[in-house]
């Protein structure tokens, strides 16, 4: 494992956002590919953070800082990855459903998914079914993730499912839902593919969806 990659992993673990651009560029100059840097530098760093978080040794703000560090490096790597025809772990569309303005959980999930190597398109809050449909058509994601905090707005999840079915897009994606009042029973009820109780679980579920394809 080259020294440059170890330095990049450590910068991710320590959340050193300021250092990562120069470390990334140095690594590229030394002949490492963007894919190498992603798989052998950034991801191992996030894996360590993930393990520490599970143990209760690292906390959400620290995980987010590490994720942002990784994103800062990915900003440089993405065009190179695209050039080389390399793909991210998967593409995910995420949003808080129609009528609901709560987004802190959704943003947390989005950042965790990015930290797990996914490309995440965040549609924001109060996202009507049509907007989800348009985004699926345009972005062709592997996964659609919906969030709601209110028992009333949960129903928008069902409406979005219907809209996707009617647009003939349901089979193209895996759908996961989450949010405080959401349950695994509700997910089954509306025909979603999965439910996650928190951001780490969402990350695991996303990986499972990709691997099962």
């Amino acid at each position: 494992m080259s020294d440059a990659l170890v330095q990049i992993s450590n910068a991710v673990i320590e959340g050193r956002v300021k250092d990562i651009p120069s470390l990334t560029n140095t690594a590229l100059s030394s002949g490492l590919t963007a894919k190498d840097i992603l798989d052998k530098g950034l991801m191992p760093g996030m894996d360590v953070i993930g393990a520490e978080f599970k143990k209760g040794k690292k906390f959400v703000p620290e995980v987010l800082l590490s994720a942002r560090t990784m994103q800062a490096s990915l900003g440089i790597l993405k065009p190179l990855l695209a050039q080389a025809g390399e793909k991210m772990a998967g593409k995910i569309i995420i949003g808080t459903v129609q009528g609901d303005l709560h987004d802190i959980g959704k943003s947390l999930v989005g950042m965790m998914l990015e930290g797990a190597g996914f490309e995440v398109k965040d549609l924001g809050r109060n996202v009507p079914p049509e907007k989800f449909v348009d985004a699926v058509k345009k972005e062709k994601p592997n996964i659609v993730a919906m969030s709601a905090l209110l028992t009333t707005t949960m129903r928008s999840m069902g409406h979005t499912m219907t809209a996707l079915k009617e647009a003939g897009l349901r089979e193209m994606v895996k759908i996961m839902i989450g949010g405080a009042p959401v349950t695994v029973d509700f997910a089954k009820q509306i025909g979603a593919d999965g439910y996650a109780a928190n951001a780490p679980a969402a990350s695991e579920l996303a990986k499972k969806f990709i691997n099962s394809n």
């Binding site: 978080f53 209760g56 906390f59 959400v60 703000p61 303005l101 709560h102 802190i104 959980g105 947390l108 028992t151 009333t152 129903r155 405080a180 009042p181 928190n198 951001a199």
Partner: protein, 485 residues
């Protein structure tokens, strides 16, 4: 004669100095003026603009003189009335008067008979109201849940209908939308004997929330506007968490919480000067491992107490929080978190202390938690009463009578005072081992359950008049018809 002498009538408690309160208030005024609030409601924005706020799209920046004007007209006290006409069940919202009650909208309920955790049903609203009606330290009523076995969009109206029929204590109501807010108001008016009667003697308070940080949604504003126009007492308070939807530092959450309340106050007072308005909130932290709102955190008690002082500083009544645990059970954690919260809410002198009776971070309503908390409130109230120092209480005469080695048991002094001086537990057990064993070796949880069973089996609330019930049924039927179209 004795001069220059001060006494404490009750226990004194203070988190902040007056200088600190002033700084926090000035910071809130600064944020309202410079950062502003996102208001997703055209009518509300128009009101703010007409008042003199700077409105740019949905962003409203509110100059401090508007806040001061609103505070000047807002009442610092008001009364909410029992529908039974029983003044003992009225609630006085006034400086330093404490009132405790449950909270709303848990999706789940722990069945009081079977202990099963299940979805909250219509009949639970009935049971919770009945238990609240009888428990002496519960002053106002909320349902502890969201009804799941009725038309889903009308869960709020059915819940209110059940509560008002099953308790004579004032209710704090909430609604999904402006339509159901209206339905609930009509039910309350029917029970009060008309809109005019209701306006004179309101029997409920309405609850709505801004969104943290610094936002008001379309629906929340609709409800605030409606309540202001009808002079329904309103609680317009946020549920922010430090590190997530509010700054990580406690002084910071006090600033944002104040802004989130005060912009609502400005609008309410602009529409209807003098309309009762309660500030406050559920101010806690984000648990940095689970990212969840930590109800049982000590920070909640500390920050709620400080926010209560801010409310008193600006002259508004305070909506505070206690009796709600993160535990999934009514266990040791629930006892600790509930007791500390109840004590500090009481010490702070908050006017409406809600959420008593919630477990699992407010995801499950639990009558055991509420009933146990009722006992804790009684316990705490005794402490809050403080110590009276008078010649009679100094007792030097009876001390002399009894003398060294004597006892005070049968003295006139003891007989005259013990019933008033001592708190008499209903649920806490002080018996000796043999007695306790003979009585069935009951735990606190067991004894709580016995009390719940007793209330559920025997307590009949004062019923509504048949005319009122008929009107309520009509309102529900109209709401159903409206939903179907």
């Amino acid at each position: 004669m004795r001069v220059n002498y001060q006494t404490n009538v009750t226990v004194q408690f203070q988190v902040l100095t007056d200088d600190q309160r002033q700084e926090i208030f000035r910071a809130a005024l600064h944020v309202l003026e410079h950062t502003g609030i996102e208001v997703h409601n055209d009518e509300a924005l128009a009101v703010l603009k007409a008042q003199g706020a700077w409105v740019d799209g949905t962003r409203a920046r509110i100059p401090s003189y508007l806040v001061r004007r609103a505070l000047a007209s807002a009442p610092s006290s008001f009364t909410v009335y029992s529908r039974e006409g029983n003044p003992d069940k009225n609630i006085t919202i006034g400086p330093n008067c404490i009132n405790y009650g449950p909270g709303p909208t848990c999706p789940n309920f722990r069945d009081p008979r079977t202990g099963e955790r299940r979805k909250y049903m219509r009949r639970d609203a009935r049971d919770v109201a009945r238990v609240c009606d009888l428990l002496p330290n519960i002053d106002f009523v909320e349902s502890l849940g969201t009804v799941s076995d009725v038309t889903i969009d009308l869960a709020d109206v059915y819940e209110f209908a059940e509560m008002i029929a099953n308790t004579g204590k004032p209710i704090v109501a909430w609604s999904y939308t402006i339509d159901t807010c209206r339905d609930i108001h009509q039910i309350a008016a029917a029970v009060a004997g008309g809109e005019a009667a209701l306006r004179e003697r309101p029997n409920y308070i309405f609850y709505a929330e801004p969104l943290s940080p610094l936002t008001s949604s379309q629906e929340a504003m609709d409800k605030l506007l409606y309540c202001s126009k009808h002079r329904i007492p309103i609680v317009y308070t946020p549920c922010p968490m430090c590190g997530g939807t509010a700054p990580t530092t406690s002084a910071g959450i006090l600033v944002t919480a104040m802004c989130e309340c005060l912009h609502g106050l400005v609008i309410a007072q602009a529409i209807s000067p003098g309309t009762p308005f309660v500030m406050g909130g559920v101010v806690s932290i984000m648990d940095m491992l689970s990212a969840a709102f930590a109800y049982g955190a000590p920070e909640l008690s500390l920050q709620s107490a400080a926010l209560t002082e801010m409310a008193r500083y600006v002259g508004l009544p305070m909506w505070s929080t206690a009796g709600v645990t993160d535990s999934k059970l009514v266990d040791e954690q629930a006892g600790i978190e509930g007791a500390v919260q109840i004590l500090f809410a009481g010490l702070s002198g908050a006017n409406l202390v809600h959420d008593v009776g919630m477990i699992e971070s407010a995801m499950t309503g639990d009558l055991q938690m509420m009933t146990m908390s009722n006992e804790i409130i009684g316990y705490v109230k005794r402490i809050l009463r403080g110590i009276e120092v008078t010649p009679e209480t100094l007792a030097t005469e009876v001390i002399s009578e009894v003398g060294p080695g004597g006892n005070f048991l049968a003295t006139e002094h003891t007989l005259a005072h013990f019933k008033d001086q001592f708190w008499f537990p209903t649920l806490m057990d002080r018996s000796c081992w043999a007695e306790w064993e003979a009585a069935g070796s009951l735990s606190m949880g067991d004894r709580v359950q016995v009390q719940i069973n007793d209330v559920l089996d025997t307590h009949e609330p004062v019923p509504l008049g048949p005319e009122a019930q008929k009107q309520i049924d009509e309102i529900l039927a109209k709401a159903e018809a409206r939903y179907r179209t």
